[in-house]
Amino acid sequence: MPKTQLLDLPNELFLFIFQYIKSSHLVQAFSQLQSPRIQALIQPFLYNLDISEETDQWIQTYLPDLFVQQTIIALRLQDKHLDVISKDLLSNNLQSIHILSSDWTTDLLKEGIDSLHQRLKRLSITFTYPHGKGDIASNLFQSNSQLEYLNVTGRFLYFDNHEINTCIRLTYLSIELEGMYRVFMLIEHLPNLEELKVNKNSSSFTFIRYYF
């Protein structure tokens, strides 16, 4: 009796198996396999691609070809990898990016935002190191921005009124600010904002317990 090979499996079994594999691991395992059938099968699992835990070597090895071969709609990555992808994005369908920033400085992040804000619809930024700079507002709120959704967590943003511009497309904003002063500034520049979430000084937020 002949051995069953991996590619002998029917499509529905692949779809079942792929549900349990991280998108980046799917890339690693299958993206270079010369099988149009497999490439078509993994495509839906790569629409939302999380490469935020991958190494520099992984990024250099897989990402350039991936943007050519597959359609990626949402991407999660570290800020240090923004420069690798930004030049490839110009010919891609990417609509949403979630950036994890762990650096004290925001230089890489600012460069990345500047190259992305005119083509992305959704941008999330999570600062995993809270004590660094919060000076990215002038990059986020630019007059030619196409962003409709913006979510910045993990660090307060600091800016003055002259540093931000009117963004007519933004309808959703979730942001952390110290005090209300800058909320008023923002709304003045966001005429179509429908949903606003403001987190203030949450570091001192406590759980409330009552015992009877």
């Binding site: 005090g179 209300m180 606003l196 403001v198 203030k200 409330i208």
Partner: protein, 142 residues
């Protein structure tokens, strides 16, 4: 120079007070910790007219506010409001308990019921709507 303190904000910028701003705000959520509830009141006074959903989940430092003030400064500033989620937690040593009857007006009856806890030993006061949409309030019956 950028001030990094909440104390800077006493009133909204004068340019905003003096002109009406076009905005489309429908859903607004505030979370966190503040000393100045009047800053939130300023916000709703200026931008409240279009808001339909509001969620306020804050630690209010040093004082408490009752239903009358919330009604006057929040609810009346949001005529389109159809949904309100509220948690206001205060640790206020020298404050008397608020009167729960201040939440019994016809305006408050349009929204979810209000619960008020006062722990006189810990000097803690908590007002929240039920069902509360947060895991911050935990109640144990021993």
């Amino acid at each position: 120079m950028k001030f990094r303190s909440e104390d800077r904000m006493i009133h909204p910028p004068s340019s905003i007070e003096q002109q009406s701003i076009n905005h489309a705000l429908r859903r607004v959520t505030f979370t966190g910790c503040t000393k100045y509830f009047d800053h939130l009141e300023n916000f709703f006074a200026i931008f409240g007219s279009t808001i339909e959903y509001s969620s306020i989940n804050i630690d209010l430092m040093y004082y408490i506010i009752d239903g009358k003030r919330l009604e006057r400064e929040l609810l009346h500033k949001m005529p389109c409001l159809s949904s309100l989620d509220l948690i206001i937690h205060s640790t206020a040593t020298y404050c008397d308990p608020i009167d729960i009857n201040t939440f019994q007006s016809s305006t408050w009856q349009k929204f979810n019921p209000i619960v008020y806890f006062h722990d006189s030993h810990a000097h803690e006061h908590t007002i929240f709507t039920i069902p509360y949409k947060s895991d911050r309030v935990r109640i144990s019956f021993d």
